[in-house]
């Protein structure tokens, strides 16, 4: 299942916008399919957004599940680095 981020939120700047995306991911993960997060048209993301959209999944889904079930596509350098850095830190913490 594909989730086009821009169909859900106008930007990826805030916790509130991250909450909207996380809820869509949780719904999609209920099926057995991979979940494709498509960032086409997103200029950049903040840590607040990534924390709420993705890191907040961690209490309910372990990191290996997230890596194997969620596919991230059409990101620029900033978005890719931010997502990886936030997960790298949380994985160490």
């Amino acid at each position: 299942m594909a989730i086009l981020i821009t169909s859900l939120v106008s930007a990826c700047d805030t916790n509130v916008q991250g909450d909207v995306v996380r809820n869509a991911i949780i719904d999609a993960l209920k099926s057995d399919e991979k979940v494709v997060l498509d960032f086409a048209g997103v200029a950049n993301v903040t840590s607040s957004f990534v924390n709420s959209a993705l890191i907040a999944l961690l209490p309910d889904y372990d990191i290996e599940t997230i890596k194997s079930r969620i596919v991230i596509k059409r990101v620029n350098r900033q978005i890719g680095n931010m997502i990886n850095r936030r997960f790298q830190y949380e994985a160490r913490a």
């Binding site: 930007a11 950049n44 903040t46 709420s52 907040a56 620029n76 350098r77 997960f87 994985a91």
Partner: protein, 301 residues
């Protein structure tokens, strides 16, 4: 009625204004009811000084102090720069000279309040910087995100939700200076929830460590200021000053490592003062690598 004078230093940098305001507060521990800001000795005011001055002026006015600008000579190039930067117009007094106009290399003082701040950044400021620097907006994504992190901090951690941004582009050396100031409670008030009785410098240093969060919002995870330093200082070899109340710390890149220098006296009022928090960012845009619109993503942990 108590009346005080604030003499703009000849070189009104962020550091010098911070020191001068510290002197004022030592002389007037109780806020004066009238404040004259004297521009007579001003010779030069770099961008952090403009944001600091605008923020300080607004804070005094909000606290009920009557603020007057005195000894303004439009023939003085520093005053002309402020007028061209629309500083006096922004402060509500109109331009000193009706012919003054914002220079191509200046982004005038902007009041950034949620929810409009992110849109302004994305659709006005970053395109402005892209045009001047020759870098694509995608290549400037980290710069945009870092400023959003600071704006989110203002929104998450301060009660008044109000901040100011001022920027100056230096085309001969491809340098941008971006100053963001707010007159909220400062960093220490929030950090004290985690480290009771810390001073302002301790609070700044603590707040810039990854994972340290005062949890002003339950979802905060202490990434924003760390991300700013990681990208601007370590990634792009820029310089960041964080000033919050009596604390002022300079962050720079020395041989690939983050170097922190405390300005003044360990966060005591004797060294200086800033109302709220100011963050000054300097980047040589030649140090920002080109980024493609899309890159392949791999999980890296």
């Amino acid at each position: 009625m108590t009346s005080a004078t604030f003499d703009m230093p000849p070189r009104s940098s962020g550091t010098n204004l911070y020191r001068e305001l510290g002197k004022l507060f030592r002389t007037f521990p109780e806020r004066p009811s009238k404040l004259e800001i004297n521009f007579g000795k001003l010779e030069f005011i770099p961008p952090p000084g403009v944001a600091f001055l605008g923020n300080m002026t607004r804070w005094f006015e909000n606290m009920g102090t009557e603020v007057w600008f005195v000894d303004l000579d439009i023939e003085n190039p520093a005053i002309k720069y402020l007028d061209d930067s629309l500083f006096f117009e922004h402060q509500g007094g109109g331009k000193l000279d009706p012919r003054s106009a914002c220079r191509n290399t200046t982004h005038p003082l902007k009041n950034v309040t949620q929810p409009d701040a992110h849109g302004w950044l994305e659709f006005e400021f970053i395109p402005w910087l892209s045009e001047r620097s020759g870098l694509s907006t995608v290549s400037l994504a980290e710069v945009s995100s870092c400023i959003k992190e600071v704006i989110n901090n203002i929104s998450d951690h301060t009660a008044n939700d109000e901040g100011y941004v001022f920027a100056q582009w230096y085309p001969k050396i491809n340098e941008i200076i971006i100053s963001i100031a707010d007159f909220g409670c400062g960093i220490r008030e929030n950090v004290e929830k985690e480290i009771p009785e810390c001073n302002d410098v301790d609070a700044i240093l603590w707040a810039t460590e990854e994972g340290n969060s005062s949890k002003s919002l339950p979802s905060n995870r202490g990434a924003g200021l760390h991300y700013l330093l990681l990208n601007i200082v370590l990634g792009f070899r820029g310089v960041v000053y964080i000033t919050s109340q009596a604390g002022r710390v300079k962050f720079e890149n020395r041989k690939g490592n983050l170097y922190k220098r405390v300005i003044g006296n360990e966060g005591e009022m004797s060294s200086g003062y800033c109302v709220g928090t100011s963050i000054d960012i300097t980047i040589f845009t030649d140090n920002i690598p080109h980024a493609d619109d899309e890159e392949n993503f791999e999980w890296l942990f």
